[in-house]
Amino acid sequence: MTQTVFRFLWLIPALPLAGAAVNLFFGKRLGKLSGVLASATMGVAFVLSAVLVKELVSLPAEGRLVVRHLFDWIKVGNFTVAADLRLDQVSAIMILVVTGVGSLIHVYAIGYMDGDPRVGRFFAYLNLFVFFMLMLVLGENLLLLYLGWEGVGLCSYLLIGFWFDRPEAALAAKKAFITTRIGDTLMLVGLALIVAKFGTLDFTAIFNSTAAGAITKGAATAIALLLFAGAIGKSAQVPLHVWLPDAMAGPTPVSALIHAATMVTAGVYLVVRMHPIFELSGVAMTVVLVVGLVTAIFAGTCAFGQDDIKRVLAYSTVSQLGFMFMAVGMRAYAAALFMLVAHAFYKALMFLGAGSVMHGTHDATDMKTFGGLRKTMPITAFTFLIGAAAQAGVPPLAGFFAKDAILEIANHTGRIAVYVLGTFAALLSAAYIGRLVFLTFFGEPRSQEAEHAHESPPVMWVPLAVLAVGAAFAGWLNFTPEGRLAGFLEPVAGRVPTGPGLTVPVMDAIAVAVTLGALIATWYVFASGKIDWLAMRERLQPIPRMLQNGWYVDKAYQTVFVEPGRTFAGITAFVVDLKIIDGLVNAIGAGVKRLASAGRHLQTGYVRNYALGLGVGLVALLFWAGVRG
């Protein structure tokens, strides 16, 4: 029975791929149907994923691993890379998120992209993205994962730059691809190192060999850090986070799907998947934890300084991903994946909600011009509120359980500094999301657009409603760090670390107090009408400006890397190559010419001389050989 069902595993990625191919070539002819087609492939892929995951769950806990061999991709010497798909507990969760949340975003995009002349292309790229994302999480070896990894990067490039006639979109697309590629290249070197050490890229073989002591701690650290560099790029962690805020130049459904719910979580998936090597290293785990923590706090402060609604959400995503890496760094893989699921719901919801706001206000994104939208866009406002409350950590919504689990584990494993700083990051995330909500939906309208805003059509708000249900109730999956999801993941992710520390009710109380405190404070500043927050911000300069500019990291990179790099390349191309190397060549050529004309006064061009020389030489050669022979 199981064999027959799992035989269809390949169909899950193949469906969106087929949709992409059809939309790419016939999208113009399909017109409005292209979105329906794309959504349909996603819907079927989701149903199929659900069926297969249900089948997987029905297997005995220790046997929940399905590997389907498709064909041998590369076979050189003893080195083989097969196109094998792997369905286990981790990939099961990932494919449900990707196809589930992905389906909703596809449906929403039908409404959002309505009227765009290139809608066929759009859905082709969106479908293609899902294909690559599914390959990333279903691949049974690192090269298939890398295929998906680069493929989603390609689609991200195409979709950020979808409105390519806008220079900022074209620039952001290129920046995203190149920035992530820095990490990807280090990851590629990591893959080469794995091949050198293990002779294979298959997960199962790598884990077995690692368990058998095939590599040293030092090698494990090198591999883990190289792989983690890839994760830093893809998941927009410090110091490669700079591409994500700019990526908001793409259409909003893209931001929701790629830059919030799925692609950016690939780094988390990678580290969870490869955790045996990270654990063997030890040092690498600490690096992951520190990077996550630093990113969570750093991006939280940046999010607080933004006025553009999508940029708040972008920095928020960076910050929330930092939380996930904190969890991973503490070996709390189940907590990381739980947060990944919860975040997929509430962040996709908020991005789509922001898109709905833009849709209703003629593409306005500056929160200073919003205000009072809860009256004109009630459904958007209500669902957004659920998403925001979920992220802020209001019980009993999903974010509360997810974030709490991570902080709890920090506390219970004796990492008091992580617990305190993590709580601070949680405070920030409640504060910036509160600021966003109060500026956008509360108070009075501050512009014509906000006053005359209109609610979005059902094709857009129905997905919002479904996501809101998810954001509200995803907590049921895992009420405690050792909850149902953790239990399901235990065979691959290991036991959730635990130990002495504050009791759960105490920590819950602290968390709720932090959240409510932040929300009340932001309401007072941004929506009560009692404070002129813009004037207050002016008084606090230059700090707000610094936050708004993301601590000037972009400017620093421009000064330290980009400009000198350009100068260096210019000198190489136009001085070293053109003047020195080629100059030398031409000088030799000129010398030969002078010699030739002085010696022989030949009127003919060089080449005829050389052709002649060649002919004469050959004849002479044959003659000489003939004499000898």
Binding site: T2, V67, V76, D84, G151, A196, A573, G629
Partner: protein, 515 residues
């Protein structure tokens, strides 16, 4: 008939040459082009027979054709093919019809142009199948003339400078090659009849002292390094590519450069394995410099053809690096990369030509917004760009990855440094694509037509193969491997088993659900 399939494939274009010469000036330009096109298609079909007959159980030469030619000097008509030259021949015969199609808008002196193209095909294919060193040298030298004529006769503004530079550079290299060949030939005379037969010369070269072998290695090496081109002998390439007509650039990048890398394997490694090992680090350093240097130079180019030319320096560095790692993965990856580069860069040059046909400029600063005006042309361009960037799923990635893996197991440094090109390629290619296709469109480009049927006929096969070989590289590597493995076993027996350590057998992943 198939017994002489190599001869047939090599000299089939001669039929076209004869028809064109016989028809004289009576043939209209259209007919001339059609004759050239049909000839190259027929040649391609003939070369498919070679693939069909190719036996992967043989690691050495097959389909060998041997006839004494000038007995007195030991010159023989000796052709043969193995897993390396097989795909070089196929790449040539595949690109030729596309190059002819891409020349459809040539109006100046069509007959001579097509004659040059057909003669070029004969000499390139001949270079790849000749196993007699003198025969090889004749083909190798002969291919200069038609390419010189193509650049000098139908090229851009500085065509004469570029053509002469191309000619002189390669001729200078050839002088060393000829000397080395003659030296070997004279040595072979010591024991009976002197010969140019590669198979006999291998044992002759084996008897030389290490010092002599190293000198001879350098003689061959310089000639081929110019062709590859290897840093610092690359400066002719940018000028030649920039000034050549589209078809000239396609064939230059697609196949002519491959003659250099092919020569390194066929002659340098076969004749002087010890010297090759001795110089391996030196060559690898040049290759790594070329990989990074070419990419850095490409970043700042404003002429798109020059940009692609410098990217070739970088990509061909990968080929040489892979070859001189002397591992199975490196060597196979290097040969694979030769094919991949021919397709990906060939496609890029074809597309640049199509852009030029419409806009009459190659300057990135004068382009922009083409994605809005000509979406299919821009889309095809982007496809070729990502092939060159090394996107997994497209062909170039597999070759680059195998080279990096194959090199890495020998030297972490070379492997890691080569990987930097992966970042740089994204920078120069995406930046140029942004300037070409994105942003606002220029006023005078608003009404440009999108791809024509002829252009689809050019692009569909080459872009199709880029995808096919990305998904199913074994179509190529299964035939390359027997030969490259044998080469590795000969040059570096220690690597013959494998580059990667074989670990205690891990529990194999079960088919279907695990127990």
């Amino acid at each position: 008939m198939t017994a002489h399939i190599l001869t047939i494939t090599t000299f089939l274009p001669l039929a076209g040459v004869i028809v064109l010469l016989g028809g004289g000036r009576n043939l209209s330009d259209q007919i001339t082009k059609l004759i050239a096109f049909l000839t190259t298609v027929a040649t391609f079909v003939a070369s498919l027979v070679i693939v069909g007959r190719f036996d992967t159980a043989v690691s050495g030469f097959q389909m060998v054709e041997h006839a004494a030619w000038v007995k007195s000097i030991g010159l023989s008509y000796l052709l043969g093919i193995d897993g390396i030259s097989l795909w070089m021949v196929l790449l040539t015969t595949f690109l030729m019809p596309l190059a002819v199609l891409a020349s459809w808008r040539i109006e100046k002196d069509v007959r001579r142009y097509m004659l040059a193209m057909l003669i070029l095909e004969i000499s390139v294919v001949g270079s790849f199948v000749a196993l007699d060193l003198l025969l090889f040298f004749i083909f190798f030298e002969a291919l200069l003339v038609p390419m010189y004529l193509l650049i000098g006769g139908w090229g851009g503004e500085r065509r004469v400078y570029a053509a002469v530079k191309f000619f002189l550079f390669t001729m200078a290299g050839s002088a060393f090659l000829l000397l080395a060949i003659l030296f070997l030939y004279s040595k072979s005379g010591a024991s009976g009849q002197a010969t140019f037969d590669l198979r006999s010369l291998v044992s002759v070269a084996g008897g030389l002292s290490a010092g002599t072998a190293r000198w001879l290695f350098m003689g061959f090496f310089v000639a081929f390094a110019v062709k590859v081109p290897l840093f610092p002998l690359h400066t002719w390439l940018a000028d030649a590519h920039t000034e050549a007509p589209t078809a000239g650039s396609v064939l230059l990048a697609g196949v002519l450069l491959k003659v250099g890398a092919y020569g390194l394997i066929r002659f340098n490694l076969a004749l002087f394995p010890e010297a090759a090992k001795y110089f391996a680090t030196f060559v690898s350093v040049l290759a790594v410099i070329g990989i990074i240097y070419g990419a850095v130079c490409a970043i700042m180019q404003t002429d798109i053809k020059r940009l692609v030319a410098y990217s070739s320096v970088s990509h061909l560095g990968f080929v040489v690096l892979g070859i001189f790692a002397f591992t199975r993965q490196g060597m196979t990856g290097g040969v694979l990369q030769m094919v991949n580069h021919g397709l990906a860069t060939g496609a890029l040059f074809l597309l640049v030509g199509m852009v030029y046909d419409r806009t009459h400029t190659r300057q990135l600063g004068e382009l922009g917004g083409l994605a809005g005006v000509t979406p299919w042309l821009a889309g095809a361009f982007l496809f070729a760009v990502f092939a060159s960037v090394g996107l997994p799923g497209l062909n170039s990635f597999i070759g680059e990855f195998l080279v990096i893996v194959g090199t890495f197991s020998v030297s972490h440094w070379f492997g890691s440094l080569a990987a930097i090109a992966v970042i740089l390629a994204a920078i120069y290619l995406l930046w140029s694509y942004q300037r070409l296709a994105y942003g606002p469109v220029h006023e005078e480009h608003r009404a440009l037509p999108d791809v024509s049927v002829r252009e689809v006929a050019i692009l569909a096969p080459i872009l199709g193969l880029i995808l096919v070989f990305g998904v199913a590289p074994r179509l190529l590597t299964d035939k390359i491997q027997p030969t490259t493995n044998a080469v590795v076993a000969r040059v570096h027996p220690a690597h013959a088993q494998d580059a990667a350590p074989v670990l205690p057998p891990a529990a194999a992943p079960a088919e279907g659900s695990a127990p």
